[in-house]
Symmetry: C2
Subunit: 572 residues, 2 copies
């Protein structure tokens, strides 16, 4: 009972042994992450089309809930770029940005996504996320990075533009080019250039100047805060908002409010598929990050419990004015590098953000949207990595096709179509491959008891004995293929007296394939050719014993292929 509870509420486990060292490590990490999160939360809310406070709210309660239910010690949960983009794309279809309906739709999306994650976790269905293959994710993230950066161009230019696909966005920006606000553009370009320099050039510079690595690190992390402070001050002091520079404006002061998602059937119906997509993508991203960081400290994370942790975080976001959240890559790495020992670091980050929500929001009134856009652009361009195209091209055209289609469709038709088609295509290509299995005719490697393909190795063979190694599980998609293959092979001239099917690579025989094997057996029997099986594995044998195939078999079952060889090869 207690063990059961501890499995579902890991805080009961690590909380009992929480030490003073862990506390101070966690506090330092929380401080660094908080500084990084304040501008990021505002920026991602902007990306999602939500008021800035939604980003801060989404970083408070969710982070605490994840600390209670999650298993990763370093994962930092909150708004992230890709999920914010997915949110904007999903909600944009049901409500107008800036309206009350839009904010409610965001809560509903978080609620559905949280509910779905908890459901998967309780049913232990985390493995479903594996159907999102690595190449599809890599392609999707790269395309999302481009989409996100493009979506922020309008803030840099100071124009209003719209669209959820690359052509739509570029076209919309093009038609609004006349409205460019020059002051906004200057702020935006300077902020972007500064942030790129902080990322690429500052750290080496500081090191050359003799700063300690820790100091260099903290200063680098504080870059966005510096940009925020500098541009906010400029707008305020020079009154630039009167010249058309759009600013964040009034942000309500106070702790996250209690909110209720709408459960109207229309809204739920429209948001269900996007919510599932957001859950799966968020989960996959989060688990990869968590596993990578856990492996470094030889810790293990439990994917099914992660579903519950992320689900709880999203449910929390739904009831406290937030929007869908997940474990972010960059903030988790920062958290880890800053020495976070336990999930408590997340709770302290939440305290930091609460203080910001209560005390600091008036200070961002004059913060230009262009600065936030600059932080987003600099952050997401690091996600863009086309090398996956080259890697998969060299390794497997099937994987390349999945990546290329995912990237093209995500850019051209939007995130949902892109990732759904990528997943579908990778499944179809896999099924296609298994539907036309490789079949090798094998012979004995001299001096051993090992059998290999007669066309690749110097092996001994016997003209009256045909030994086929089918390199695929037999199931409905390839059952008829095998029938045809054997029929063609045994009617092709030579005097074959026995056929041995070497089952070493056959991991399953489903009912369709069983019927095919029965058909093959009876046809070979009519032709007075024996049919034998060798190296049938335990689980497959268990199943075949439930059928009549073995009784009716016009031949024998051999433990090893060598036994079969000894039985027939001598007779010729």
């Amino acid at each position: 009972m207690i063990d059961q509870l501890r499995r579902y509420v890991p805080v009961l486990d690590w909380g009992r042994t929480y030490s003073r060292t862990a506390f101070s490590n966690d506090m330092i990490a929380a401080l660094i992450v908080t500084i990084m999160l304040i501008p990021q939360s505002l920026a991602y809310a902007l990306l999602a089309g939500l008021p800035p406070e939604a980003g801060i709210y989404a970083s408070i309660v969710p982070i605490v809930l994840y600390a209670i239910f999650g298993t990763s010690r370093a994962l930092a949960v909150g708004p992230v770029a890709v999920v914010s983009l997915l949110t904007a794309s999903a909600i944009g279809q049901v409500a107008e940005a800036g309206t009350a309906g839009y904010a409610v739709a965001a809560l509903t999306l978080a609620f559905l996504s949280g509910g779905f994650l908890v459901l998967l976790g309780v049913l232990r269905l985390g493995f479903l996320a594996n159907f999102l293959s690595h190449p599809v994710i890599a392609g999707f993230i790269t395309a999302s990075g481009i989409l996100i950066a493009t979506s922020q161009l309008k803030h840099i230019l100071g124009v209003s533009a719209s669209g959820h696909t690359l052509p739509e966005m570029l076209h919309s920006i093009y038609t609004h080019l006349g409205e460019i606000n020059v002051i906004t553009l200057v702020i935006g370009v300077l902020a972007t250039a500064f942030l790129f320099w902080v990322r690429k050039g500052l750290k080496p510079l500081l090191k050359r100047m003799g700063a300690s690595p820790l100091l260099a690190d903290v200063l680098t992390k504080a870059g966005p805060v510096a940009a925020v402070v500098a541009t906010t001050l400029s707008v305020w002091l020079l009154g630039l908002d009167a010249s058309g520079v759009r600013v964040v404006g009034e942000v309500p002061q106070g702790l996250p409010p209690l909110t209720l998602p709408s459960l109207s059937p229309d809204l739920v119906g429209a948001l269900l598929m996007p919510a599932i997509l957001i859950s799966v993508i968020g989960f996959v991203e989060s688990v990869s990050v968590a596993q990578t960081l856990a492996a470094k400290k030889r810790q293990r994370i439990d994917p099914d419990q992660e579903l519950i942790g992320l689900g709880a975080a999203n449910l929390g976001a739904a009831f406290t004015g937030g929007y869908p959240v997940t474990g972010g890559f960059s903030r988790s790495v920062v958290n880890y590098d800053a020495g976070a020992d336990t999930p408590a670091a997340g709770a302290y980050t939440a305290v930091g953000l609460s203080i910001a929500a209560v005390g600091l929001t008036p200070l961002v009134y004059f913060l230009p949207n262009a600065t936030l856009a600059a932080t987003i652009i600099v952050a997401v361009l690091s996600l863009v990595d086309f090398s996956i195209l080259k890697k998969t091209w060299n390794y497997s055209k099937k994987d390349f096709a999945a990546v290329a289609v995912t990237i093209l469709l995500t850019l051209g038709l939007g995130v949902e179509v892109g990732v759904a088609t990528g997943v579908l295509l990778s499944i179809l290509l896999h099924l296609y491959k298994t539907s036309r299995p490789h079949v090798a005719e094998v012979g004995l490697v001299p001096g051993t008891q090992h059998f290999r393909n007669i066309h690749r190795h110097q092996v001994e063979a016997n003209p009256h004995l045909l030994t086929l190694r089918v390199d695929e599980s037999l199931y409905f998609a390839n059952a008829r293929f095998l029938e045809d293959y054997i029929q063609k092979r045994v009617t092709s001239g030579c005097d074959i007296r026995n056929v041995v099917l070497m089952f070493s690579a056959i991991n399953d025989v489903d009912y369709s394939a069983l019927e095919s094997l029965e058909a093959i057996n009876s046809r070979l029997k009519d032709m007075q050719i024996g049919l034998h099986l060798s190296e049938v594995k335990g689980p497959v044998m268990d199943r075949l014993k439930k059928s009549h195939l073995l009784e009716q078999l016009n031949g024998r079952v051999f433990l090893s292929q060598f036994d079969a060889w000894q039985a027939f090869a001598g007779k010729s």
Copy 2:
């Protein structure tokens, strides 16, 4: 060039050697099939909701086109029960039965279906049909038989009822029970009872009375014709149509007219999915029949050319007042048993039906619909076979689930939902299984070079050497599973120094799995455990050589598992 032509137009092949014996054999078969087809064509048109002549037209030109382009020597193409049901279900959604739009929709359906089949044939995509597994087809045919029989009850009862699912039909019949026409009911019940008796009792009786097997066979086949003649005469002589017995009525006299399918985007959009479904189900049915009959005479049929033959037949139906056709099971078996030698038998059948279309249609004016319904019911109840449920239950719960869902959903929600869900479920269950592969720890079978599961066989093992045989191709769905499995296994206590992955059952390693293998390799390296591969097959090795895995491998690649054993097992 000529060979190419002969491949696509098989008649050029068998036509050159057409003999007098073949001619007389084909003529006899055609005569028997024609007698059987006349009532059947009328009945299936009724089932499809079309005027009776549509059934006859669909049996003339399509049969000739199949004779030219098809490869089976015995297949008889024309309207069949299941496809007629699918037609009724598809067209019922876009037009009212009996209207001109309904007939045009039937032509369009045949056109789309024919075009799709030809396309698949030219692209050589016949293998796609394999994704319809044997159990799903068996379940679908059984459920369709029940649906068809139920749909004909209204004609036996003489009431008007509607619906495309079992609950709808039963409910509709129930609400119309008050309108039962007693004379129709008497005709219907008598005709049904008579036809059942002909099927089950007549042949044994004739044999006991000393009739020759051929005579007994012909008389049995003529049963439906006898029922048609007897009931038609009764209605005519007793004027029963005036008492509310519905009859076939006026059927236009003459050869099939030239017709044009409609290509309005709305109609095409609505009928495209049903057309694909009809094509695939028709093709699968047809190919199974053709293969079974061809195997008996050691002939081969070419599935891709079959697609072209069936496609041409459907295109023919679209332009000559017909509706979707396919190779029928019972008529093909009759054709084969009656001695048909070549596809020319089909052409002669077409001549027989043309004569019927020109000369006999006035004779069916007084033919009661109830008699046609009786012939349908008796014919389709032989399709109903629940034994597939028991067989799959015993053999594999996965296949059982696919059959059960297909039957239930076909009955409860209609043919399209039923078969689509069945196909999808069987694919998902297959993917699910491959996502959690069986992994066996293997050891040496004493006195051999053969390795088997240490839990199933008496084998030699070495505590410092962990040899895992992964019984599945490695791909995105199970890549993470393997990572977790190995991590758990090597951290579970014992002092493992080397891990050998035996690749005998691994038929593919995709890019996701490659990344997992790289991760496993680097984690084991960190733990100072060697990672080795054995029995990697040719095609898998070719692929791995394109990656960096083999260079970075913290261990060796062995040709056989026995080599790996010799290298490590002595060292302990």
